[in-house]
Point group: C2
């Protein structure tokens, strides 16, 4: 019997040893291939004798994961998971430094010199302020894998900064907030079909053309995006505090969040100065449209169900319509043109003819309140505005639109002013 | 002793079984992730709760492998391995049909309707004619994963077609030819620096701007590339016939090929009509520059050695210079502008001042010979032109430039005419 056990022991060792050798022989190359980007079975195809081209890389940091595109020298997407604790803490921007990502082939990385004198900010995709729980986490947001050339005044330092703050404050509504941020290059349509090229552009009118700048020196230029997107998921199921007064949730959306519904929203903004009075809801887009122009599916494991997607896109169309209605006709046209590649909702109210009185009043209320009380500086949502409209997301799918939670209300334009200071409005954030 | 063996046997079974269970548990998810594109360790990062965005897919066919970009709805790169037998055979184009790739998410695939009436050809990256050994292999080249919108007359049906033939004929010089083909989007530089934007464009002059069209219907548009590239590796080490008279190799390059050197070349052409008289060498580019604008390294396992790369790029600069010298000044400027994002060689002869007599004579010789003899129709290289110049690739690195093998000589403009027909010059190839 002792021999039986001895044999068994040796046998297990041999079996496991063989297994180890097998794993060593087969897994290492695969792991190496995986680390370099695209993964596929390199052994099998006769064309792969000298290796395969790799066009992007994915890097993981403490607070975020980023995919970097070697051709545009821009992030493709940056995925963050933030909580109230990860986005608060003692980490400071002072002393942080931008750095080329050590994991990105220097041939394909943007360089610090590309941005110098370019006229563009080094814009964070995952904002530094989302990662304050440790100095390491904040420092890591300054990797150029997380950076894209953004227009500074009026965008990165203003409207976009407020939007980032809006997203961060979702951690007051739901314990876990997941955000994907990235650049877009959206074409515009010429007004009328060219007469000498009757076949260009198909049957939909004028042809679509993309025009955008690049910075740096050839051949290694860095593309300047025409737009940026954020897709946001606010998940209360991890034990958030949906009743927090910071979020003026409607009782209906509050009850949905309490029942475990997840709030989702997609936004697209042009990389240009945006009027501080424009409502955030004017930049709400249907997830489906954004996915089409970004060329990816966001949060695939959450949003596979077509009923969920339909419910969200119905809500998004409603919110966008409401946002456009708040604008005067000329501004409305301008915002619509900026997002022309994402078709505006065609059903429902014809927004061109809707009275804009209500919305203008709402805008007044949001932006013109005197900016004196230091307790109201952090966020306009803390100034207890009138309750938001009832949710637009059809119930029963387990999701609701983030705007149903907080009525798309952004922080005040001066949200980042330290108490007492008042003339620091154009503080560069790059 | 029998017990020892019995125990050993059971032990091996347990060890191997445990190994199998371990593999089942760990390998399946990884394989699934690999199949969907980017691969990384999904288990470890807290941000990946709802999955990660995927922006491209790699598909393998009998004759080629293609990476497809979901945002531009274009191939990123298409890698072929062709031989004399794979590119000859009975497979016919007649009856072949373009089809959306079944492995590409329909949301991100180009559609047949995107091309209809667009004014652009459905241009193959891996040419159908490279895959004639089986009808299946040829049919597979009609997947839209291998297709990009190309200008038809003067490009896809003419200059580019001849270039494809040139590459295919490298199988007469080397047994194994590897080709990577793909689209580019290259910006152009404005002539002078804008005065009201002194910071744009850095110190190199005017700013760089990309302008290109899209076809189809929003939001799922298909980008029209501004340029296409091919990177070619001709490897004689598998038993090719370097002495084949079809290739007028110089004695030096022939001897290098015989010694096992590998011929490599990179080419970039604008997606527009190209004058049939332009020499191919005018479109030779340094590999390094192409890699910078394409955002990838080609054939990384062959071309890692910096001395090889330097040798190839020296040769490329020489060939390009020679090609540009063959052009009249205005045409030269036009070709240089078309490839402005890939800086022209600055060292060596100042090409602007070089006499163009010799080169014009050479061009005459190549394109103006009467196209009557059916035996000379297949390729100008079979018409036994004067011997090519000696290799430009510095020796000793095991590589030489493909133009050193065949002097960048393309087939005659009418190479595809069936013997006897003569008025079929604009036969559509789409």
């Amino acid at each position: 019997m002792r021999l039986l056990f001895m044999g068994f022991g040796v046998g297990v060792a041999v079996g496991a040893g063989g297994c180890y050798l097998y794993l060593s022989a087969t897994k290492q190359p695969q792991a190496a291939r995986v680390a370099r980007g695209i993964a596929f079975d390199e052994e099998q195809h006769h064309a792969l004798k000298f290796g395969a081209p790799e066009t992007e890389i994915v890097r993981q940091y403490e607070g975020y994961i980023a995919a970097y595109d070697y051709r545009t020298r821009n992030p493709k997407w940056v995925l963050e998971h933030i909580t109230r604790s990860s986005s608060s803490g003692d980490a400071k921007r002072d002393g942080t430094e931008f750095f080329p990502d050590p994991g990105v082939d220097p041939h394909f990385s943007a360089k610090l010199s590309d941005f110098r004198g370019s006229g563009y900010d080094r814009g964070h995709m995952a904002p530094a302020a989302d990662h304050k729980s440790s100095q390491k986490a904040m420092n890591e947001t300054f990797s150029l894998i997380n950076i894209s050339p953004q227009v500074g005044a009026g965008f990165n330092r203003d409207y976009w900064a407020r939007f980032e703050r809006y997203v961060k404050e979702l951690t007051y509504a739901a314990a876990d907030v997941y955000v994907i941020t990235g650049p877009l290059w959206l074409p515009t349509q010429s007004q009328s079909q060219s007469q000498d090229e009757p076949h260009k552009g198909g049957s939909t009118g004028g042809k679509w053309t993309l025009v955008h700048d690049w910075i740096g020196k050839p051949p290694g230029l860095v593309a300047v995006p025409t737009h940026y997107y954020k897709v946001v998921v606010a998940d209360p199921r991890g034990g958030g505090e949906p009743g927090n007064p910071a979020v003026a949730a409607s009782s209906e959306s509050e009850s949905q969040l309490a029942k475990g519904a997840v709030a989702v929203g997609a936004f697209v903004m042009p990389n240009q100065p945006i009027d501080a009075r424009n409502p955030l809801s004017a930049y709400v887009v249907p997830l489906e449209d954004l996915e089409q122009v970004a060329g990816t599916r966001f949060f695939p494991d959450l949003l596979e169900d077509p009923r969920r997607r339909a419910a969200l896109d119905t809500a998004a169309a409603g919110w966008r319509q409401e946002g456009l209605m708040q604008l005067k006709p000329f501004e409305r046209l301008s915002v619509k043109q900026a997002l022309a590649a994402l078709p505006a909702p065609t059903s429902g109210v014809t927004i061109e003819t809707v009275d804009t009185k209500i919305s203008n009043a709402a805008v007044q209320e949001t932006v013109s309140a005197p900016a004196t009380s230091s307790s109201s500086l952090l966020s306009s949502s803390r100034a207890l505005p009138p309750p938001p409209p009832p949710p637009k997301t059809p119930p029963g799918t387990g999701v609701l639109h983030v705007c149903d939670v907080n009525a798309c209300r952004m922080p005040r334009p001066d949200f980042y002013l330290p108490s007492g200071s008042s003339n620091n409005n154009n503080k560069p954030r790059q």
